[in-house]
């Protein structure tokens, strides 16, 4: 088992409010891991630390054995751009860009030529059932369509790890199910590791395993615990 991302005794507070109080987590290559927990438990904060968006006050974050928490903002930004993909609850598409340009964005930021980036982005529209929506702006898309565009954007650069924070949180059950089906099929096809934050058990059930964050610490739920 190759470890891709790891948190070791991570502590982080927002002002006087502790969010993580010694969180430990190991994510293996190809893992589809769900992080669950009640609101305010620290699950999204943990994802942001693992993804190099936040830097913990103490503890270690590692990606491929390399200390992410010791990197400067510029290096972390490059790491996020080069190796990670992201899907957030509300898609967060750039409203000024077309759907196709939104999907191509990670490639453009990585220096891929515009024509090549747009062509690669175009291939994801067919895969995710989005044909015909290439020229639409985010305001012209339904919630489910926007989230599939966001998923395509998260996957287009073939990231090593996809971080998904409540990716179906704003969708109805059926649409959310469709997005999760596409997410699982796509990451399996491309061997992408996934860290998925959700408070919904039906979404967590798409993962290989799950952990629960409670009071800023990670509790593992394993099949062994059941036996």
């Amino acid at each position: 088992m190759t470890t891709v991302v790891e948190a070791r005794d991570v502590v982080l507070s927002f002002g006087e409010t502790p969010a993580l109080r010694g969180a430990d987590l190991v994510v293996a290559e190809g893992d589809l891991l769900a992080i669950m927990g009640p609101s305010g438990s620290g699950k999204s904060t943990l994802l942001h630390c693992l993804a190099g968006i936040l830097v913990p006050a103490s503890g270690e974050i590692l990606f491929d054995g390399r200390r992410v928490d010791r990197l400067g903002e510029t290096e972390r930004s490059r790491l996020r751009r080069d190796r990670f993909g992201f899907v957030f609850q509300f898609g967060q598409l750039v409203p000024e860009l077309s759907a196709q340009e939104n999907v191509a964005l990670p490639l453009l930021l990585n220096g891929v030529r515009r024509a090549a980036a747009l062509a690669e982005a175009r291939t994801w529209f067919g895969r995710l059932g989005l044909d015909g929506l290439e020229d639409r702006r985010s305001g012209e898309l339904s919630g489910g369509q926007a989230q599939r565009i966001a998923l395509a954007r998260g996957l287009v650069a073939r990231p090593r790890v996809l971080f998904a924070d409540e990716p179906t949180g704003a969708l109805d059950s059926l649409t959310g199910e469709h997005v999760m089906d596409l997410l699982v099929s796509s990451v399996r096809e491309h061997g992408i590791t996934v860290v998925l934050v959700t408070h919904e058990p039906r979404v967590a059930a798409y993962a290989d395993r799950e952990v629960v964050v409670r009071d800023g610490r990670v509790h593992s739920l394993t099949a062994e615990a059941i036996a």
Binding site: P201, A205, A207, E210, R214, L221
Partner: protein, 174 residues
């Protein structure tokens, strides 16, 4: 209780031999729990005795499979009434989960660890059902969804109970 009415419902689609009826039942409703031929024929006999089905013709040959069953007006009325009535919304106030948590708290055991173990067991089953949904047809998905929503309801209860354990412990120990 539902087997006779389900068989009647299948007969309303079209008259059937017992063998075909069993095959239809197992395909849609018997997932992991197929009907035995004995149960099919004894149920059909009772339905015939009570006037809910009649035997339309006896084809030449051996065995009960040669009988062709047809639903009567009485049987159709019962199917219609059954399909219109809601199933009792059972409150399940005395579940095993509830009993285990309460007893664990009374005895000063680790109720939180039990709830974590139960959560893992529920999620494992939800994973299995999700896989059935992803790999099966729409009928499988419909069945799996029913199980998934019930398990999810249990999980919500587990989460809420976990958040209330301290207060609950005080109440049951006093």
């Amino acid at each position: 209780m539902t087997v006779p009415l389900t068989l009647l419902g299948l007969l309303e689609r079209a008259p059937r031999h017992g063998y075909d009826l069993k095959r239809d039942y197992d395909a849609y409703f018997g997932r992991g729990k197929p009907l035995s031929f004995g149960q099919v024929y004894s149920t059909l006999s009772r339905l015939a005795r009570d006037g809910r089905v009649v035997i339309s013709d006896l084809e030449p040959g051996e065995g009960p499979d040669r009988k062709r069953y047809v639903i009567t007006d009485l049987g159709a009325t019962e199917v219609d009434a059954w399909l219109s009535e809601p199933v009792a919304a059972e409150p399940h106030l005395q579940t095993v989960l509830f009993a285990k948590v309460t007893l664990a708290l009374m005895l000063g055991r680790d109720a939180e660890a039990y709830l974590d173990t139960q959560r893992a067991a529920h999620l494992q089953r939800m994973r299995e059902l999700t896989e059935i949904k992803r790999s099966g047809g729409l009928v499988d998905a419909l069945l799996a969804d029913h199980g998934l929503f019930h398990l999810e309801a249990d999980l919500r209860w587990i989460d809420l109970t976990a958040a209330r354990l301290d207060v609950l412990a005080e109440e049951v120990r006093s």
